[in-house]
């Protein structure tokens, strides 16, 4: 068998297509995964640059780097959209999903390989459109769309007569179409292509997380598509879906947007839940504690995620009973999320725990996510939310959960699977320096925003009272620490490719039990020509 496999391997290597055919017309799930990851690095770099623009402006009271506040809003809008749609989603969902869903369930490739290619190649044009929107007219006489990632009318309609918002909307259309197509692909792959013996209840939790994420995207993305299409026709073709002059209602857009927007935040974090489950189990040398509750907690989070959207709209005039309902439903989400946190800790409990970089990032994630979860329960209360609405307290909350929380799962997965994807080992010391610098950096950035937010520091505003200068200075210092941490990361990665230290098929030892560790590092161009059997 060993020689047979070897022969098959050679056969594959001989038939690896040329550069253009391999990367531009790729139908191979690993190559497409790689493309997604590279794309996410590009997106993340642009999004990170934009966030430094935000921090540079907020470094001191008064206007620093922007000549008018609109540009500040353009930066934060583009930062949000790029980080969500062109960094986190392409890496966690598109990148790791494409790489490891087929490998983990023992499938030779995705169900629709050519559709997979289409999904990826919709993304670069989408990002291009979004970047173009920065350089064309938005409000009269000013460039860019300063509408926030929520694109609320009327600011996005009558407030932005120029084409910048149209470019941003079309960028979201393309990115949304890409997500919908890959969701169809993932669900079909997971339902139909599991290797014999790999029942749904034996699937690794990462695959479960991808399945739930794909369903969330499938149900939520079309609603965003509908809402922004209405916005587009309101802007250009005289419809009045959100225009009271023609009988429309701008609040309807908020309902539609958040019906998409809330599931979207779980789209961002659920793949990370899956990664953290794999990593903690691997480095505790134990199967994950409470496998089935862990899987169904994700299903529950996904389902409840669709019925809590109006907690983003407490200030939009909801009746008392409605607020009470959304308060209760929102708090219910803390239950399955709590199950997950407790199960991760219980997995480590009594395990033979090691702390290489991926494990550090996974534990760092648990700390950050728990912190963000607690402020989420605070914000679920309409009474408190009225005071905190649109302050940086909310910014701190969602960065702790879906931004740096998701980022830490991303790095956890990256360091965990880097040896598998490249065949090379990264430098453990540099990885740990990266972790500690980033952990300190993001906390120094975002923890003070709880305090400044409570003191009245508004989000989406380029200036603030002098009294808030202290907290903002600390935040800005934290941002610079984080940027330095990212420099360490890129250096560590470059070093790994220069040194080419062989990683071996399974560098993590007996704790790594999933199927991707049974194939070579990097895996053959076509892995699982022969289906592996799961007992």
């Amino acid at each position: 068998m060993s020689t047979q496999a070897h022969a098959a391997d050679h056969h594959d290597h001989d038939h690896k297509p040329g550069f253009v055919k391999r990367w531009l017309f790729s139908t191979n799930h690993k190559d497409i995964g790689t493309l997604y990851l590279i794309f996410a690095m590009v997106g993340g770099t642009i999004g990170g640059f934009l966030s430094m623009g935000i921090r540079a402006e907020l470094a001191e009271p008064g206007m620093q780097i922007f000549s008018n506040p609109h540009m500040f809003n353009v930066f934060s809008t583009a930062h949000g959209l790029i980080m969500i749609f062109f960094m986190i989603m392409p890496s966690l969902f598109g990148g790791f999903g494409n790489w490891f869903v087929p490998l983990m369930i023992g499938a030779p490739d995705m169900a629709f390989p050519r559709l997979n290619n289409v999904s990826f190649w919709l993304m670069p044009p989408a990002l291009t459109l979004l970047i173009i929107s920065l350089f064309v007219e938005g409000p009269s006489g000013m460039n860019g769309a300063g509408v926030g990632w929520t694109v609320y009318p009327p600011h996005s309609t009558s407030g932005h007569p120029g084409p910048a918002v149209d470019f941003a909307i079309l960028a979201l259309h393309l990115a949304g179409a890409s997500s919908i197509l890959s969701s169809i692909n993932f669900i079909t792959t997971i339902f139909n292509m599991r290797t014999p013996g790999m029942t749904l209840h034996k699937m690794p939790l990462f695959v479960w997380s991808m399945l739930v994420t794909a369903f969330l995207l499938l149900l939520a993305m079309p609603v965003l598509a509908g809402a922004i299409t209405m916005l587009l026709t309101d802007r250009n073709f005289g419809t009045t879906f959100f225009d009271p002059a023609g009988g429309g209602d701008p609040v309807l857009f908020q309902h539609l947007f958040w019906f998409f927007g809330h599931p979207e935040v779980y789209v961002i974090i659920l793949p990370g839940f899956g990664i953290v489950s794999q990593v903690i189990s691997t480095f505790s040398k134990k199967p994950v504690f409470g496998y089935l509750p862990m899987a169904y907690a994700m299903v529950a989070i996904g389902a409840v995620g669709f019925v809590v959207w109006a907690h983003h709209m407490y200030t939009a005039g909801l009746s008392l009973d409605t607020q009470a309902y959304f308060l209760a439903a929102t708090m219910v989400i803390a239950v399955p999320t709590g199950i997950k946190i407790f199960s991760w800790i219980a997995t480590m409990w009594g395990g033979s725990v090691r702390f290489p970089t991926p494990m550090l990032f996974a534990i760092g994630f648990i700390v950050l996510f728990t912190l963000g979860g607690v402020t989420g329960v605070v914000l679920a209360n309409p009474g408190i939310d009225r005071a905190f609405h649109d302050t940086v307290y909310v910014v701190a909350h969602f960065h702790y959960t879906m931004s740096i929380g998701a980022l830490f799962t991303l790095f956890s997965g990256w360091y965990y699977w880097f040896p598998k994807m490249t065949g090379y080992m990264y430098n453990e010391t540099l990885g740990k320096i990266h972790f500690w610098m980033l952990f300190i950096g993001v906390n120094v950035t975002f923890f003070p925003q709880h305090f400044s937010g409570m003191a009245g520091m508004a989000r989406r505003q380029a200036d603030y009272p002098d009294a808030l200068a202290g907290w903002n200075m600390i935040s800005t210092i934290g941002a610079w620490i984080s940027i330095a941490a990212m420099a360490v990361f890129f250096f560590a990665m470059a070093l790994a490719f220069v040194r080419k230290q062989k990683a071996g098929d399974n560098p993590w030892g007996v704790g790594a039990t999933t199927l991707e560790w049974t194939v070579s590092s990097p895996p053959a161009f076509h892995a699982f020509e022969k289906l592996p059997k799961v007992k």
Binding site: M1, S2, Q4, A5, H6, A8, D9, G106, A107, P108, D109, A111, F112, S183, I184, I187, T188, F191, N192, M193, P196, L218, L219, A220, M221, P222, V223, A225, G226, A227, M230, G238, T240, F241, P244, A245, G246, G247, D249, V251, L252, H255, L256, F259, G317, S319, L320, D505, L515, T518, V519, S520, A524, F528, E529, K530, L531, P532, K533, V534
Partner: protein, 211 residues
């Protein structure tokens, strides 16, 4: 593969090409079903537009007022004050104000109030008014019998018209534990310019509405 694969090592039956074992037709079925789901969600997002409007009208949500044919025969002795508020969109060259600041009336009693609008531009303009009441809970008990807001209004250059609204407060407001303490309701209108209006010739509508 440099090391033997523990999972596949002892199953020669599995050795045939994995791709031949897949059933593309089943892929197609699942794929199409999921695509159907996507299309129906897209449809639902558009269906939300009329459903949302209906929901507000039926429940009086967000202070959406109700329409009625006539006031109840018997009014309550309880008094309530209705205040009047007027706003004009930036794009509309009109002056628009209530003729009276407030009216105190018996709950259940029908009253007539007037707003006054003047076209300050030099061309005829058609406007339409949106409306609601505050507190929002009063929306389902605030009934309009006739209102200038039911139709579009066209004003000639410089023309001033009195616009009537006739209304009553449903006595059920006293039995609802959430609204029984409401002693003052503000009725608010905002006039917008009607989009895509024909500027050359607009049929002069009856500014007195359906009264």
């Amino acid at each position: 593969m440099s090391s033997p694969d523990p999972h596949s090592a002892n199953s020669p039956q599995q050795a045939s090409d994995a791709r031949l074992q897949q059933k593309p037709a089943r892929h197609g079925l699942v794929g199409l079903t999921l695509a159907g789901l996507v299309v129906s969600m897209l449809g639902l997002s558009y269906a939300a537009v009329p459903l949302y409007k209906m929901f507000c009208q039926v429940t009086g949500y967000a202070g959406t007022t109700q329409r009625a044919k006539a006031a109840p025969l018997k009014a309550s002795k309880e008094l309530i004050t209705v205040r009047f508020d007027a706003n004009v969109s930036r794009d509309l060259d009109w002056q628009f104000k209530p003729a009276q600041r407030s009216i105190t009336l018996k709950i259940g009693e029908e009253k007539l109030a007037f707003y006054e609008a003047t076209n300050t531009s030099d061309k005829p303009i058609t406007g339409t008014a949106t409306f609601n009441v505050t507190p929002a809970i009063a929306g389902s008990y605030f009934n309009k019998i006739a209102c200038f807001c039911f139709t579009e209004q066209t004003l000639e250059p410089g023309e001033t018209v009195q616009m009537p609204v006739s209304f009553f407060i449903d006595p059920d407001i006293l039995t609802d534990s959430d609204s029984k303490d409401v002693k003052e309701i503000t009725l608010s209108y905002t006039f917008f310019v009607v989009k895509n209006q024909k500027t050359t010739q607009i049929k002069k509508s009856n500014a007195n509405g359906s009264l």
